[in-house]
């Protein structure tokens, strides 16, 4: 079944831009990225869009659809009402380069600050032995496809450019959590997590967890354990308060 989709796309660059309306014929079962590709192929050859796998595995095609950060390749048109206008804008947290493409170098710069993994030596037979239960925690974080939706939705940096210097964001907190929980890791990265990542600035509103297309429980399984690991409870008011309210246990 083919029908006409009302598509509104932000067009412009660093100097400014505007929402532009298009009508694009689409078919049953298609996703937002299909509509953008058809628009590009037939009406706007120079429309800037990032994409690679078109299967939700590479995290390239992130944008905000009707205001919500999403992967355009995994957003089916059938979730919208018939006749509804679908508005696609670039991720708000990062500077626009052109149209839907933003400058995400912030994330790559922060990644350079993550400490290097330093494992214990291999066993005599050249292998490492780890149990499935022990690798599973880290495996959850390593599902991350680096779409940076969590970074875009995080209000510590979403409208606060000034916080970017000191704050790495949820994607990078996964990296610190991964190191902390890696069965072979020999170093203690608490200082790095505290000083370089700025994890203390996160006040666990869980926005990141909500937008994660991989369903990683970023706040509960990564950020809170990292916070607990790096700071004394009395030092981080959020952790202190969280303990008081939700998780009072026998050792309190």
């Amino acid at each position: 079944m083919t029908y006409d989709l009302n598509l509104r796309v932000w067009r412009g660059d660093a100097s400014g831009g505007e929402l532009t309306d298009y009508v694009v014929p689409v078919e049953e079962g298609e996703v937002v990225l299909d509509a953008l590709h058809r628009l590009q192929a037939t009406q706007t050859g120079d429309l800037a869009v990032r994409w690679n796998c078109k299967a939700g595995k590479c995290g390239s095609c992130s944008a905000e659809i009707n205001g919500k950060p999403r992967l355009t390749c995994m957003t089916r048109l059938s979730i919208f009402e018939p006749g509804e206008t679908v508005t696609v804008t670039p991720l708000r947290t990062f500077p626009v380069i052109r149209d839907l493409v933003t400058d995400v170098s912030y994330n790559y710069e922060k990644a350079k600050k993550v400490p290097t993994f330093s494992p214990e030596p291999r066993q005599a037979d050249g292998t490492y032995r780890m149990q499935q239960e022990d690798v599973q925690r880290g495996q959850e974080f390593r599902k991350c496809i680096e779409c940076f939706l969590c970074q875009s939705v995080c209000h510590v940096i979403r409208d606060h450019e000034e916080n970017k210097e000191a704050f790495s964001g949820p994607r990078l907190f996964l990296r610190y959590a991964e190191l902390q929980m890696h069965p072979l890791e020999t170093n203690d990265h608490r200082d790095a997590a505290r000083e370089e990542s700025g994890v203390g600035m996160c006040n666990i509103t869980k926005c990141c967890t909500e937008v994660c297309p991989e369903g990683i429980k970023i706040t509960d399984n990564a950020i809170i354990p990292v916070k607990e690991h790096v700071v004394d409870r009395s030092y981080d008011p959020v952790v202190w308060l969280g303990r008081k309210i939700f998780r009072r246990s026998s050792d309190d």
């Binding site: 690679n52 995290g59 380069i97 490492y128």
Partner: protein, 601 residues
Amino acid sequence: MTDPNSFERHRYDVIVVGAGGAGLRAAIAAHDAGAKVAIICKSLLGKAHTVMAEGGIAAAMGNVWSEDNWKVHFRDTMRGGKMLNHWRMAQLHAQESANRVHELEEWGALFDRTAEGLISQRDFGGHRYARLAHVGDRTGLELIRTLQQRAVALGIDVFMECTVTKLFRDDEQRISGAFAYWRESGRFIVFDAPAVVLATGGIGKSYKVTSNSWEYTGDGHALALDSGASLVNMEFVQFHPTGMVWPPSVKGILVTESVRGDGGVLRNSEGRRFMFDYIPEYFKAETADTEEEADRWYDDKSNNRRPPELLPRDEVARAINAEVKAGRGSPHGGVFLDIASRRSTEYIERRLPSMHHQFKELADVDITAEAMEVGPTCHYVMGGVAVDADTAESVVPGLYAAGEVAGGMHGSNRLGGNSLSDLLVFGRRAGEHAAHGATEREQRAPVSDDDIRAAAEAALAPFEQDGGENPYTLQHELQDVMHSLVGIIRQASEMEKALEEIARLKERAAKLTVEGHRQYNPGWHLALDIRNMLRVSECIALAALERTESRGGHTRDDFPTTDDSWATVNLHCIADGDSVAIRHEQLPAMPDELRELFQET
């Protein structure tokens, strides 16, 4: 606008083009060997096509079946490629892949484990034992992330979203550098470097139905050809048997072979496990001929033979094609892949989480409850740059190739799981030898201004031309031509027609017009990529027309059987001006001690 002195310029020992598994592994090896190295990649770091690899890395570690060793892996690989593989590459690959996997663990990779705590290994088509190291069904992501983080930790320079359009050579025809543009700004960069490692992946975007991403436009193949190297085995294109077929939006997206490795079976519209009807003579001795035996094999490999669903990919793809043609296909033109009735929900969700997610989100299908619809999709090119097996260097001094862009390793058909191991083994070799080659070369002439100016003008041509051809339209037409005329089943008349069509498309490509300006302009980028796609498509069609037999990924309706007179012949494509010429070369002969491995059943 084309003043060479105005361009950004860098000097390196080694430039690696591509940041998938092979490129990253090559860069790490070159760095470790003491070279100053840069990675140049078309996408953001970590987005390369390797990220989509699902099933696993084939390596004879013997963690699950202690009977496994490199000789068995070597034999499986050669037989899977119908003995057309470069024996030395297949040998090195089988011998070194286990170490390359262990190395990943040292860099932080977290593979699934056996009960003893070792790296778990899963069954795959064409492999005698469970051999694929894996992380659920997202092994490629784990591999690329591990290498990416390693490269970042080593401080290797990465030029992201940067496309190489030309390789430079000095007066002695040795590599001297590369020309590229930043996709973000459209500005040009010149690299002076005596060694270039091509790790650009494949060519799938020349086909209509493909599992490949936009980057797979055969850039490295074309760059090598234009630099004087030859491409070997280009007639062999792998159609993965199981791609999604519905809805149209997702047609071609990969459904991992792990579904079959983990117990899934193929059925036609009559509910029959039709693969039992397609067991070729070549694999009869090692393939089960009853459902009972096939099902017992998963737990007892010593007393049972492999299910026919786990024949090599070329066999399974042809069988699916034949079932659909015979009118026994699924409603949307595929066949049924059923794991729901064979394994528990818990098992499927644990072993195949991304398949579960992908079908649920994109096709409203719950694979733990119902069968998937699948059909062949263009997945991999066995052909590529002809290289020395040990050093990965082409005939052009200073030009190396590794991974999918290199040819020879997989012969006429690649086994599943052998790609990720190939990337690691030959990525490392290419990087190491490129570093040695570069540091040994003391005399390095800078790239000449004339060469740079010519490269800049060629890159800007689509803005100057006024022919009105749309690059997107041209790409769609090329995809149609390759899909319908040089696809999974071929014949002479169709391939001749394809070559005529390609010639016409080449003329039209000279009249492409792009709108807008140079800043992040996908229309312009595609206009440049199309040249490579056309060049590679011509190689495929020419070589496919030349090989008058059927073997591996090359199936001809007019020459349906394997012909012994072709068993030792490699076809090499070489540049002949703007066209392509074909050369016959003798396949390197295997030494006797390896040949003996094929005497047993």
